[in-house]
């Protein structure tokens, strides 16, 4: 891989270009630099794959471990091609034991390697959660700073489609409450690429919550995003859409729903500011509070269960820091307080929909009926 990209680099072709060529994203002869900003198309899956590829090339301590990550090319094809390129020492297929391979990854991290542990879904990670919390999150503190754990736990989180209770739980709130962990939940390809690279480079243990339904989604990305040194800061939210009437916070797939809701609201003259949290822990309280101090109203959106959810924490934070700015109670839009049902109609009812977000934003703005646009 190194030799190939070195030759191509000398020939004037960057490693990113060759990656895009190999994956049929651009035609031979096209130069990436000639694309204008934001007109490269990148799927979330490719964002993750390219991030893993580059970080493994740059640092020989990084390795991938999990079920089906190697020969099968990844349960969701996120690790496609990595076994062929880096070999079985760097991409480990494991027996079916989350507790086993998570503990193994933590032990390797204690020694000084940088494992990326893939869970087929974070639902299965519950069988390894002791290692994530007790062995990874707490060890740097418990050892008095002697043992660091530079490990990344990644995989799909939250609801997919028709996979029911044991494959649909959102773990953002659980992991987000744990000191010692960093918890990330990206939305766009730019998020996935920049934040996974940042997570792998981070010396602390990181829980990286993906979304199965987003893997095939395509997003426009700028040239900067495709650079092998592109990273995003962990702990900073992104304002996806500026607005002045109501703040809507969301993460992962719900950011897309919030943006659609903002479009709907705009038709009724409500200008919504949509914040893509990107990080659950650390939570970007500064950005959230600054936005609420501008709009005076807040709606939080998440797929997970309502009690002790991410919205509960955001709500408490805003009440603590920006109480006198609030013109309306904070509304939490969450998944229903039930284990996820299977039937498609029930599943739809159990998850937030765009209409729910629109109604909540209107309630916050005291609107029952559409009004003409405010001056």
């Amino acid at each position: 891989m190194w030799a190939t990209s070195a030759r191509r680099a000398i020939a004037g072709q960057s490693s990113v270009t060759s990656w895009l060529l190999r994956n049929s994203m651009i035609k031979s002869g096209e130069k990436v630099r000639s694309f204008s900003s934001g007109s490269n198309q990148l799927t979330v899956r490719d964002a993750l794959n390219s991030a893993l590829d580059e970080e493994m090339s740059a640092d020989s301590r990084v390795f991938v471990i999990g079920e089906e990550v190697g020969e099968y090319q990844g349960a969701y094809k996120v690790t496609k091609g990595l076994l062929q390129k880096f070999g079985p020492d760097r991409v480990l297929d494991t027996p079916i034991t989350e507790a086993g391979f998570t503990g193994l990854g933590v032990g390797a991290a204690f020694y000084g390697l940088k494992p990326v542990v893939e869970f087929m879904t974070f639902n299965f990670a519950m069988q390894a959660i002791d290692h994530i919390i007790n062995s990874a999150a707490k060890t740097y503190y418990m050892s008095g700073g002697q043992i660091s754990v530079p490990i990344v736990f990644r995989g799909p989180n939250g609801a997919a489609a028709g996979v029911a209770a044991q494959h649909s739980q959102c773990f953002a709130a659980w992991y987000g409450s744990c000191p010692g962990l960093k918890v990330i939940s990206p939305y766009s390809s730019e998020d996935y690429r920049g934040l996974l690279k940042a997570a792998i480079r981070d010396p602390d243990p990181v829980v990286f919550l993906e979304n199965e339904l987003m893997y095939g989604e395509t997003f426009p990305v700028s040239d900067e995003v495709l650079d092998s040194n592109f990273t995003l800061p962990i702990g900073k939210a992104k304002i996806e859409r500026e607005g002045k009437d109501v703040t809507i916070t969301a993460f992962s797939k719900m950011v897309g729903y919030a943006l659609k809701a903002a479009d709907e609201l705009a038709k009724d003259g409500i200008s919504a500011e949509v914040i893509n949290l990107r990080s659950i822990r650390p939570l970007d309280r500064a950005t959230i509070n600054a936005s609420v101090r501008k709009t005076y109203r807040l709606v939080t959106v998440e797929e997970g269960w309502p009690q002790h959810g991410v919205g509960a924490e955001i709500s408490a934070s805003v009440v603590e820091e920006s109480f006198e700015y609030l013109d309306a109670p904070i509304d939490r839009i969450t998944g229903a307080d039930v284990p996820m049902p299977y039937a498609a109609n029930l599943e739809r009812l159990a998850l937030p929909q765009v209409e729910d977000i629109v109604r909540a934003a209107k309630r916050a703005c005291y609107r029952q009926v559409p009004q003409s646009a405010a001056a």
Binding site: D89, L92, T94, P95, T97, A99, G100, F101, T102, G103, L104, G105, V106, G107, A108, A109, F110, Y111, G112, L113, P115, D130, H131, N134, S135, T139, Y140, Y141, M142, S143, G144, G145, Q146, I147, S148, P179, G180, K182, D202, P203, D204, G235, P282, R285
Partner: protein
């Protein structure tokens, strides 16, 4: 080896008593398992990475953890390399290649396999060594670790201190297999059963196992049979579930320290005079370090918020500033032995 075993015994007994006197909150003795601890440590190299359960302080003592180090951790003073973060006996030393004790049972086993994998990849002339008890073999992590180590072919020693008791659960209620050694075989791991109270047998076994593990890059399981003469911890009174005669019999007839001493005396390498001198010196040193550690200052407030993450995040910096301002406003409420 004998001197270390005797110092270990002395230390264990004095710290147990200190807990009973209310001077420390908690302690775990290794009484009855001194041979396993010290002989295994002696047969290893200092490059081998140790993953303990919590009854292996003899291994740490052999490697060079001083009586002062033990005291600092148990009394949680500002000399503790663990910065007062953990309960007593949760020692760790990066320098001595001894991974910090974690209370969770069995979690160290897959960790040891992962670290062994790293050693294999780095082609180091070393292995990892994971200690656990008979009770620990019931944990899921034990089975996952054994299976993995076998499949990945990594240099790890699994040393089971089968002392017959897991708190109040006797081995007969822990498993129905023929001990632990057959479990290793079931996973395709070469396994040994040894008399854990025979210092020399323990030493030879671990020495041979280490060689095999490193040269052939394979896991080895050692089941060392012994008896837990002491209580599970200071929170336990084992006379509630086992007979005092049983404990007394093991203590007087099967004690590994006495057994080794008799062998040394039989070879004229040790005698009554040396014994009395060693015991007196050991007792003296342990007490001196204890008394000194007891009155030292506690770890400072500045250590409370460190090491949660690699760098202290903004919200913790804010919390520390808030705590400090509270201390400034209410100095009488802040304990005098906790520096800022």
């Amino acid at each position: 080896m004998y001197e270390t075993m005797a110092i270990l015994q002395t230390m264990d007994n004095l710290y147990y008593e200190a807990q009973r006197q209310g001077r420390i909150s908690f302690y775990v003795t290794s009484i009855g398992e001194e041979a396993i601890n010290v002989a295994s440590a002696a047969a290893l190299s200092s490059d081998d990475l140790i993953f303990p359960q919590y009854r292996e302080q003899g291994v740490l003592l052999w490697r060079g953890f001083t009586l002062k180090d033990f005291a600092s951790q148990c009394f949680a003073n500002d000399e503790d390399s663990g910065k007062g973060r953990q309960m007593p006996v949760h020692y760790g030393s990066k320098k001595l290649n001894y991974i910090t004790v974690s209370s969770t049972v069995g979690t160290q086993l897959p960790h040891a396999v992962g670290a062994a994998y790293s050693l294999k990849m780095a082609k180091e002339e070393a292995c990892t060594v994971a200690y656990f008890g008979d009770g620990g073999t019931s944990e899921g992590d034990f089975h996952a670790a054994m299976n993995f180590a076998s499949v990945l072919e990594v240099p790890v020693l699994f040393i089971c201190r089968n002392n017959g008791w897991a708190i109040s659960t006797p081995a007969s209620d822990q498993y129905r297999s023929d001990g632990v050694v057959v479990k290793g075989q079931a996973y395709g791991i070469r396994s040994f059963r040894v008399d854990g109270n025979d210092t020399l047998a323990m030493y030879s076994c671990v020495q041979a196992a280490r060689k095999m593990a490193i040269e052939e890059s394979r896991p080895i399981l050692i089941e060392a049979l012994t008896y837990r003469i002491g209580h599970h911890t200071t929170s336990d009174d084992s006379s509630k579930y086992r007979s005092i005669t049983e404990m007394e019999r093991w203590k007087s007839l099967r004690d590994p320290v006495i057994r080794f001493r008799k062998w040394l005396e039989g070879n004229a390498w040790w005698d009554e005079v040396a014994e009395r001198r060693l015991r007196a010196t050991a007792r003296n040193e342990v007490i001196t370090t204890m008394v000194r550690a007891e009155i030292l200052k506690k770890p400072p407030l500045s250590d409370l918020f460190k090491d949660v993450y690699d760098s202290v995040p903004v919200h913790l910096q804010e919390q520390e500033a808030y705590v400090r301002s509270t201390v400034t406003r209410h100095p009488k409420d802040h304990p005098s032995d906790v520096p800022l």
